[in-house]
């Protein structure tokens, strides 16, 4: 049933990994393109790291196969795989200096000394740490250690670079600049990156495509914009960004458009293939809801000023959860919103995403 697509540079083929009765990865089946920046995104314990470690060879799948560049590597030990890894802890060898850390994998290839030194110097230049060769691992800052780990892996010229939450240990400012640097580096070297993170903003800003995982299952694989604007289920919609959900029932169909009875919100029309009678969720992002002169009536329950935007919770009669509304601060002398104010909510029909319950 599953076709092996030859254009996939990495092929994860019906991979399952069980630890005892628990399936850490449950029937993952997808491909990663050559030169793609591919992220595995999900909360801790969702199986993303286990999946990455199976590509690296530190864990073996209970079922399924893994192919890189057409070759089945499922049973190969890590040292025979065309992949290299940047570890979450960076795993900088404490007994070696920066030069020897970066040269570690090359030593085995018995290169002439000048060639070795040249390649390590190139790698040091690439990570902007020229002249740091003699430093010991414990004399480096977190960001520098991260770069050394990156250089040590990239100098092996791997077909695939695996990154296990490599930015998690850095502070926010450094993390943001490293995100941009890492993305640029990936474009420059053109190596396929598989990047594990639990940080949705990080995944959205860096990736070509993202696989969202939860409880061992891959829920959706898509480009960042699609994941955000067109999630395929409640979990994905909830995990990435903030989402308002309203229960509704399909009452009629009008071509591609479903007519929905959304209870207190009245009748809505949205694109959906769901048949008449189906129970669905209508999902709307907070920034796509506008405060208007007419529309759904509500009362402001809480309002937070966040600088570039206001975050407002609006209570609507008959809806249990308050509706999240994000409003851009476009005017310096903007309108002040206080708890208790009566407002009306409105949105464009195409702002709605209809999801299965």
């Amino acid at each position: 049933m599953t076709e092996t697509r030859l254009d996939d540079f990495i092929r994860i083929q019906n991979v399952t990994k069980r630890f005892g009765a628990v399936a850490a990865v449950d029937d993952a089946d997808f491909g990663v393109g050559r030169g793609e920046f591919f992220s595995l995104l999900g909360p801790s314990g969702c199986g993303k790291t286990t999946l990455l470690r199976m590509i690296a060879g530190f864990e073996y799948p209970t079922d399924g196969a893994i192919l890189i560049d057409g070759a089945d590597i499922t049973d190969l030990p890590p040292h025979k795989r065309p992949s290299n890894m940047v570890f979450q802890s960076y795993a900088i060898f404490p007994h070696l200096n920066v030069f020897d850390n970066i040269a570690y994998g090359l030593r085995k290839q018995r290169l002439p000394r000048e060639e070795l030194a040249r390649r390590v110097d190139e790698a040091l230049a690439m990570i902007k740490l020229t002249g740091f060769g003699k430093r010991r691992g414990d004399q480096l800052s977190g960001g520098q250690r991260q770069r050394v780990a990156l250089a040590r892996a990239l100098i092996m010229r791997p077909k695939v670079l695996l990154l296990d939450e490599p930015l998690g240990a850095l502070d926010k400012r450094l993390r943001e600049s490293m995100q941009i640097e890492l993305r640029q580096l990936q474009k420059t070297v053109g190596i396929t990156f598989v990047f594990v993170t639990h940080d949705q903003e990080e995944a959205l800003s860096m990736s070509d495509r993202i696989a969202v995982m939860s409880a061992g299952k891959v829920l959706q694989i898509a480009e960042p914009r699609t994941l955000y604007e067109q999630p395929n289920c409640r979990e994905v919609a909830d995990f990435i960004g903030t989402m308002n959900f309203f229960a509704a029932t399909v009452t009629a169909r009008d071509g591609a458009v479903a007519v929905l009875d959304a209870g207190p919100l009245g009748t809505l029309r949205a694109t959906s293939p769901e048949p008449v009678g189906a129970k669905v969720l209508v999902a709307i992002r907070p920034e796509k809801i506008a405060l208007a002169d007419s529309g759904i009536a509500g009362t402001i329950a809480a309002s937070a000023y966040l600088g570039e935007r206001n975050h407002i919770h609006v209570l609507v009669d008959g809806v249990k959860e308050p509706v999240s509304v994000a409003q851009q601060n476009l005017d310096r002398a903007g309108q002040r919103l206080n708890a208790g104010d009566k407002v009306h909510l409105a949105w464009q029909p195409d702002a709605m995403v209809v999801l299965p319950v």
Partner: protein
Amino acid sequence: MKKRGGKKGWGLFVYAILYLAFLYIPVLFLPLFSFNNSMFISFPLSGFTTQWYAQMWHDQEVQRALGNSLKVGAAAAIISTMLGLPAAKALTRYPVPGKGALIGFVNLPLFIPEIVLGISLLILLNWAAIPLSLITVVIGHITVCVPFAITVLMSRMDGFDKSLEEASLDLGENGWMTFWRVTFPLVLPGIVSALLLTFMVSFDDFLIAYFLAGTQVTLPIYIWAQLRFPFKLPTVLALGALILLVSCVLVVTAEWVRSLGQRGRTVVGA
């Protein structure tokens, strides 16, 4: 500061002094009388001499016993550390079934009275018709040294990030080379510490050696035998003082090496 210490502080201070005195004064008698110019152990001291040390130094039997103890200690230390290394690696790196029970079982010789261990080993060797010699002493010492070696090495192995070994595998080295290029250098302080500690355990042991040495003599056995001759006592004191000094130096060195390793640990964890 002084006020807050108060009376309670004083009581504890006196207690601590008394406790340390109780622990160390008897031991200090050894070096004290070893420099006393008299056959008899009694106050007042009659005069300073180093003759007992000279006598001991030139005593052929002491030399032989010392030689034996050094040989046995070195062999027991090296073999038990070598045996402990793969065991410690397995227990800290792989999901060994029944790990807790296994560690307890390996440590059992520490809790069996040595006299029982000595007799059991003697019976076993007799049954196997293995003649008693220094080799049988080494075998006996290995049984009590391996738990020490495993404990020291395990604490060291636990101390460093497992992803260091994974990184080496990932960079193309196989398991064997990873052991030599990453695991071994990082565990080295633990290995030195284990060697020194197991050497001390073997060097100090009397009971097991007494049962298994046959006609051979190790230093503790020699000392015990000399106690029958009053005129030999001062030499024994000199010998005892020397062993005390060497023991202290070894234990302090072992701890120092271990703490050197501990410093390396923060590099990994940060």
